[in-house]
Symmetry: C3
Subunit: 467 residues, 3 copies
């Protein structure tokens, strides 16, 4: 049996009993997925997933980063190269390589997500290993061709009430339009992620700016025109269901320049050859501009700072971005956010959701900030911390100062479609375990815990993301 | 029932049993409160507290910061404005607003403190909510007019053996004098908090300096005269029971300038228009000067660094300081304290008690420093960490390196008078829970744990603060 | 009874039962000690340890730092002074001072290690205290003269399969040669710790460089000759069993200068009067040079960064280095290691083992780095964190991102010979307790946990250190 019905519940019998009761009331709630990176083409085209390797291994940097760290080459796992030089193409060979190294994932959330998908979607009962590799491969492969394993069928099976994807302002949202036009009932919304036209260090930034102007008909040679282009695309995204924006900056720096300074900065940025200081300042200024627009159009703002992207240049040159080589860095919020907060922090109608890859900020900076400013909320444990221990630390570090109601429920934040139910299930279990501990140590009554379990699993996400 | 007799004890039955036994031996010990911010006027004048809202909501930034973070205006909670523009004055309306949002405090220590006061002082048995708001209000209001609810009666009911308040060097200590003259037996001592005349960034610093000279008759135009003024006020404070000084600086920086440099720095500071660098250097130098004076007069020195005060300028302009907008910042101790330690760190007769709002410093810097230097001790978990999880982390992070005997017992550090017994009770319970876990995992014998429970609840505070 | 058979196992009965089972399978495994600071002269000369005080108190900075922090002078503990001025020489007087302060160690790992040695080596059953001081002293003293308590006998009794010591490149390894020549079967290997000739801030660096040239016959006035000298000594160390190098730098900074820049830097360093910047840059460059040599000769590389050595100048002047006054500092890895990783991070045949004194780096930097780069592994919890809570946090903070197989098993890293079995035992117990918790919360199957317990206690250390 790959997954146990009591998984992640505390061992203490009394606490476990309470956790079970709380979980029993939320296990079957629909999934609200307000932030993630699934491909809208899946829902638009509804084509079958190709094979077990290309479903579970090749696209999942959680999986291949661990294998790579132990000396398994990315080529041998079928990860495509930038220059098209050949890599392994036999999915069964890739799968066997993965299976024989499955012990590397012991103790990781990846293991839990995979086992959950193997067990619940494919009725697999034996642990993956060299010995079971082929049988597991065959089972998954034979299912993937069935209609019940196409994206829309899985979407419904997962009981997804709403899912958000994340797109560039330059995206034409054709897949979202196709979904809407298809008559299919699944709710798939987009989110506005303007990094490609906001971050001067983004690959292709100059070309992106030009395309941004062309797409919107705005004169992006002036700051006013550039901001208008954002307004236009935000409106377009909103018309396709977006309720949020998302900003993935190296730091949480914000700025609040005078109009004259901002205009001058934009001209330097637009002219190209941007200094590192100007690039950082422009990203910083744009967070404040985005907050101003959010006050107007009501889009919730997400800030995901602190990742050192593409830390491994050899790997980047050969395989491109998002290959498991993004590394968290120490992140300051108290000074970084001050310019934005000085201007908009007291606006109850603004909602800025903060994330971190630096756990030290939870209790020291983020909970105190979110426990004071009406405009701030705390996003859930993110990325490397989207795991049982990470989620538990998150609750322990933020609740006492910020409470539960300054948090926003769970994000799965994933491109790995089959992991979505597993991830939400882990979050619900960890939260119920945490709440159960508050109950048995008499810090919370059980009726309150039950209400909170529901809020954390469902209600807060809908409310915080205005879904 | 609002509070359970086993609250905060571990769920595991064996551990809980040990925790109960340990707690049973310390629950009724008198309260030693060596650091806090209660108003000495309460004990001097012994007037009744006005009403439930002005006792529990209006003055407590733990309470209104959480409400504010969820969009409840401070005006509607009766928090007075700087310019006297009108705010809610109806205590019952404030109370109802508080009560209907009481769920926001779930999982916070504020909730525990409030429930403890409601239950033990006012015999309230139902959870505060919109439904119970009026009944609770009435119950509290009717009690507050009784003699048994006046400050001195509560002081005695709380079994406070000694409590320290905190005053500016410019304070005339009239309330402490009145208490002494009154013949009342309660022991209320002051503590010397010289920030208003030490921190060039303190509001009104220049005027404070002048008043400092006038008050002491010292020539504060010279550094020697300025130091003499401190000596004079320290002696005056000591005569009113002070056994400690307290220093609330933005960082833990210390300096040990030559007399010539120090004199020159003081002249720049005294002349006004101080640079940020000079302001920081002067605060740093003054910590070392204060340590030197402590070696002479025996006052224990407390350093409370790392708070970014008044982070929210709009709120500060409208409501002033201490309104829940102080945010912790990353704090270095290893380099910052070195100048002071180089000079005085090996003095066993000096006692410098260190606090932090940056938990990362506990295991990395503070425990190693306190586990080596004779002059250093570690203060308890402070402010945002004065909570069950915060206290538990404190013990787990410092004990293995610094032991128990380099810590100083508990501080309630509060202005919220009715929360004092609750806070000490939480600390005693969390410490007994921690000790019980050491006992059942066979890291400590139970007779040792019992001795430690007593020390942590009572003995260490008296010893460390020389009370 | 000083030590309990269930010590450090979780209180929950189900979890404890699993922990016992897992521990039962690893408790009797031989000790692999791949990194430490025991004195090879012990094994070479096999002389008896002098007396209880000189075995347990005088040389152990864990012990005397705690006593010193509470005002016990180092002189009174017999710690020798630099200038030879007199200190306590009566071992029984030292022992009594230690015994009467034994309560200071409550809750510390030192207490556990000492009790383990007292109980298992000397059959002592009563807790050390003023009352038991003399009886304990007598018992230990009478045993130390027995043949069974000589170093080689203890080595065998401890079931040490292999132990590494740590030597300077200038060491002639005579003791290792003597051990090899003696015919004794104990395996004692050295490790190459080149700080004395790599760190321009190391005491005596200039003289060391000269000796380094003389010893190797290399022309250390050129960078090429200097590097050749390293190659020669590495080969010499390897011939005496070394499988690793070790680098104890103040930071984790690495550099990858051009040959011209590196040569110029070396000339400045060799000329003396090195600036702080050049010193740091040279240490940084040398880590990358050492990695290059490791690729050639296969020595595993250990980096132990982040200690502020000799923080207490008065103490240093009087007693010298390693007297408990080394304090951890905040340590960056993501930027610091990039130059080395850019060049060698993708080499599966290179093995760089990272340690930290800054726990915040575990989940934020070290686990993500080790969970990606083939050349990186994570060393165990180090120094201040070599303790039950420290080890538990280590597992909780790194496992979910880096897994178990990017870690390298346990290091005792000690100069305290009698503590070696205790330290390995603590590590095995803490790991089994952690694994048991994964089992009972259904995150791991018990057969996997058993395999992991074996790997963590034995297999990973042998593999990672190529022993």
């Amino acid at each position: 049996m790959l997954i146990h019905e009591d998984r992640l519940f505390p061992a203490d019998p009394e606490t476990r009993t309470v956790a079970r009761r709380l979980y029993g009331e939320v296990r079957d709630l629909p999934i609200v997925s307000p932030h993630g990176h699934t491909d809208p083409a899946w829902y638009a085209l509804n084509e079958p997933f190709p094979d077990p390797a290309r479903l579970f291994v090749v696209p999942d940097h959680y999986v291949f980063r661990m294998l790579y760290s132990q000396g398994v080459s990315l080529e041998s796992l079928g990860v495509p190269t930038v220059d098209g030089s050949p890599v392994e193409t036999d999915p069964r060979a890739i799968w066997r390589r993965f299976a024989e190294n499955y012990h590397l994932f012991r103790g990781t959330p990846t293991r839990m997500w995979l086992d959950h998908a193997f067990a619940t979607l494919f009725d697999i009962e034996e642990r993956l290993s060299a010995a079971t590799a082929d049988a597991t491969y065959d089972r998954i492969a034979e299912r993937l061709v069935e209609p019940a394993y196409r994206p829309r069928a899985l979407f419904e099976r997962f009981d997804i009430e709403v899912i958000a994807t994340t797109e560039s302002p330059l995206d034409d949202l054709r897949h979202h339009q196709a979904i809407a036009a298809s008559g299919w009932g699944g709710r798939v919304v987009t989110a506005y992620r303007p990094d490609p036209v906001v971050d001067p260090d983004f690959h292709g930034f100059r070309d992106n700016l030009e395309a941004f102007g062309a797409l919107t008909g705005c004169d992006v040679s002036t700051f006013a025109g550039y901001l208008d282009a954002h307004r236009a695309r935000r409106a377009f995204f909103k018309a396709h269901g977006a309720t949020s924006t998302d900003h993935g900056h190296p730091t949480a720096a914000t700025a609040d320049l005078s109009p004259v300074e901002a205009e001058a900065l934009y001209h330097r940025v637009h002219a190209g050859a941007v200094s590192a200081t100007d690039a950082e300042l422009f990203r910083a200024q744009m967070l404040t501009e985005m907050a101003a627009m959010s006050l107007d159009d009501g889009l919730v703002m997400q800030i995901h700072p602190g990742s050192f992207r593409n830390h491994n240049p050899q790997l980047f040159a050969r395989f491109g971005r998002d290959k498991g080589a993004d590394i968290p860095t120490r992140t300051d919020y108290v000074h970084a956010l001050k310019p934005l907060l000085d201007r908009f922090g007291n606006e109850p109608s603004l909602s800025v959701i903060l994330f971190t890859l630096d756990e030290t900020a939870y209790s020291r900076e983020l909970a105190p900030l979110a426990g004071h400013y009406p405009a701030l909320r705390l996003g859930p444990a993110w990325w490397f911390y989207d795991s049982p221990e990470g989620m538990r630390r998150y609750r322990e570090l933020v609740t006492e100062t910020a409470g539960f109601y300054n948090t926003v429920g769970f994000n799965d934040d994933t491109r790995a479609f089959p992991s979505i139910p597993a991830r939400h299930d882990v979050a619900r279990r960890v939260d119920c375990a945490y709440l159960a501990e508050l109950v048995v140590t008499h810090r919370l009554d059980e009726d309150e815990a039950a209400e909170l379990a529901h809020d954390l699993a469902y209600g807060l996400a809908k409310k915080a993301y205005r879904l």
